[in-house]
Amino acid sequence: MAVSALKPNPAMDALSARLSGQVMPKSGAWAKSARADALARLSATGLPARRDEYWLFTRPDTLNQPIPKPAAPFDHSDEDPIFSKVDRVRLIFTDGVFDQAASDDPALAGVEISRLADGGQVDVHWAADLYGVLETRGQKPVARPLATLNTTFASDGVLIRVTGKAAKPVCITYRHADPNSDVLLHHVIRLEPGADLTLVENGAAAARLNTVMEVEVADGAAFHHVRAQGRNHERRAATHIFARLGRESIFKSFTLTVNGALTRNECVIEVNGDDAVAHIAGAALGDGAAGEFHHDDTVFITHDALNCESRQVFKKVLRNGATGVFQGKILVRPGAQKTDGYQKSQALLLDGDSQFLAKPELEIYADDVACSHGSTSGAIDETALFYLRSRGVPEEQAQDLMVIAFLAEALDEIEDEAIGADIHSRLESWLQRRRD
């Protein structure tokens, strides 16, 4: 029978269903060819599936489905927006659409800011050389189809080229207004030799969010990234950072995540220049009683140069059925001598319902390296809690002190004091709200 020759292929069916809902954005020549290339790659890999090695702990279904589950915009008017006290250049997207009127004039000495959606018109050769390029490199050895989907269909994003030391941070704020918004944004950032930029991101963004950020940090440049994924319980987000580091460059990224039904943050870093430093950290707090909470950090760091340092510090505080996932790998290529790799992932389980699933990996092909990794999960230290209480600190306050103490090593990765203090106060408010 002729029909039986066509074997059913659920993976490809899922992909074609998903693609049928996407619109190919209008774009200039370079973006057009990058998108076409990405579509071809996506057709070969398909969407993430449950049986994929890197999707064993996190169900991709809701990220794959053609239409996102509707999510009511979250009302966070009970506190000032995060980073609002930090002097910054604001770029605002509402449901993925750039809001020029609400944004600041993007004039900042040493920083050129344009938009992907305008990329066909303006001269952005440097972005053409990066768009989809670092993402493609990051597909090996582990496929990251949601990033490829993003390269194919991203409707907009910012293109930032940094030639000097930026006097203040650039802040991308994602606002959410439409309960059905399905947003794909793709940012490309290049720091020229010796340049320095702090980028902060915040906001609820959409019912479903998919972001990719490709970052090239040239020799001697420094990139600082702080991100706050906040408060909206129904958030479903898949984010990717792809970074390539030059000689003596610095890359530091910290993410605060509170709440969110499903958040998958992937970070893929190629440490390619000697004496470079890469630090990635995250603090996540989830309370299943307030809504579903599943948080996944998936990190892949490749060392391919001499005398480099990488540091991963991920901490999760989980309760009432919250789930935390950590998949982190350090790959040391042959010849990457004197690599100093550190990886720590820890969960504080505030009750017996929550779970932490961790897969730390080291793969080392050089002999003169120092790499360590440790993953733990456990409850609050009762002895310490009693000690605090015996001095008069009420139980809940003592518990909060212990939670903040647990997160300290991750929070210490934030270099900017004002930003660090802001993150700190958000954590305290989050804990405070659980008490009332």
Binding site: D381, E382, T383, A384, F386, Y387, L388, R389, S390, R391, G392, V393, P394, E395, Q397, A398, L401, M402, I404, A405, F406, L407, A408, E409
Partner: protein, 251 residues
């Protein structure tokens, strides 16, 4: 001040009775000492009074100035004026010593309906008290007890006591692990706090500490009971002859 009557305690998880009816009264302004063999229940008594979990009170009462202690949460007991200097002070990575003390002082004031101590007043007070105990500023900034030597931990306990100004102080083997100089420092710290309105219950193995902190009454706790009470000379008797004579006498 502290009044304990017929206190019986067993372990919550095990069928093991540790205190079998302890009677003890420490009047205001007094220093009482408790001595006793290892495992006789001295630390258990101090933990039960301060509200540590894992113990079940099966009989008796304990009151502080007439208020039932056993009914209160540990923090309420602290606010009511009870303080335990731990035999093994706990290390708390990530919580700064100074933050901890300020949180504790202000939490107690709040529970008593008093205003917060201002940051400057707090700093002034803690600096003076730390200096007397030879605790340097660096130690105050470090996480609670992390990387402290045995002696530093014990001095830190006394500093907390001095800052919190409790009315009933229990010291559980504060002398263990201290050299002669540290013992002098700690004793001076304790003696500086002696006051008509403040009482001490000093748990120790050694007469040594009691040379510095002079007790009014000495009790012997053995096999879960106070088996003998007397003046300071009782401590000397233990020092010279051990517990066997006393235990034989009361058996």
């Amino acid at each position: 001040m502290l009044n304990i009557k017929g206190l019986k305690v067993k372990l919550e998880e095990e069928d093991k009775t540790i205190l079998k009816g302890v009677d003890l009264e420490v009047p205001a302004g007094m220093v009482h000492a408790i001595m006793g063999p290892n495992g006789s229940g001295k630390s258990t008594l101090s933990y039960v009074l301060s509200g540590r979990s894992g113990y079940e009170v099966t009989g008796g009462t304990a009151t502080l100035d007439g208020v039932d202690l056993l009914d209160m949460a540990p923090e309420e007991r602290a606010a009511a004026g009870l303080f335990l200097a731990f035999q093994y002070p706990v290390e708390i990575p990530g919580v700064g010593n100074m933050t901890f003390l300020r949180t504790a002082v202000n939490a107690q004031r709040k529970m008593r309906g008093e205003d917060d101590l201002s940051a400057t007043d707090f700093l002034k007070t803690i600096r003076a008290k730390a200096k007397a105990l030879k605790i340097d500023a660096e130690m105050l900034k470090r996480p609670v007890n992390v990387g402290f030597s045995g002696g530093e931990k014990k001095r830190n306990e006394i500093l907390q006591m001095a800052m919190l100004e409790p009315k009933m102080c229990i010291l559980d083997e504060t002398d263990s692990g201290l050299d002669v100089d540290a013992m002098k420092l700690v004793s001076e710290g304790v003696n500086a706090l002696r006051d008509e309105g403040r009482s001490f219950l000093v748990i120790t193995h050694y007469q040594r500490l009691l040379d510095h902190i002079k007790p009014d009454v000495v009790h012997i706790l053995a096999r879960g009971r106070i088996v003998k009470s007397g003046g300071p000379e009782l401590a000397l008797e233990v020092e010279n002859n051990g517990y066997s004579d006393i235990l034989a006498e009361v058996a």
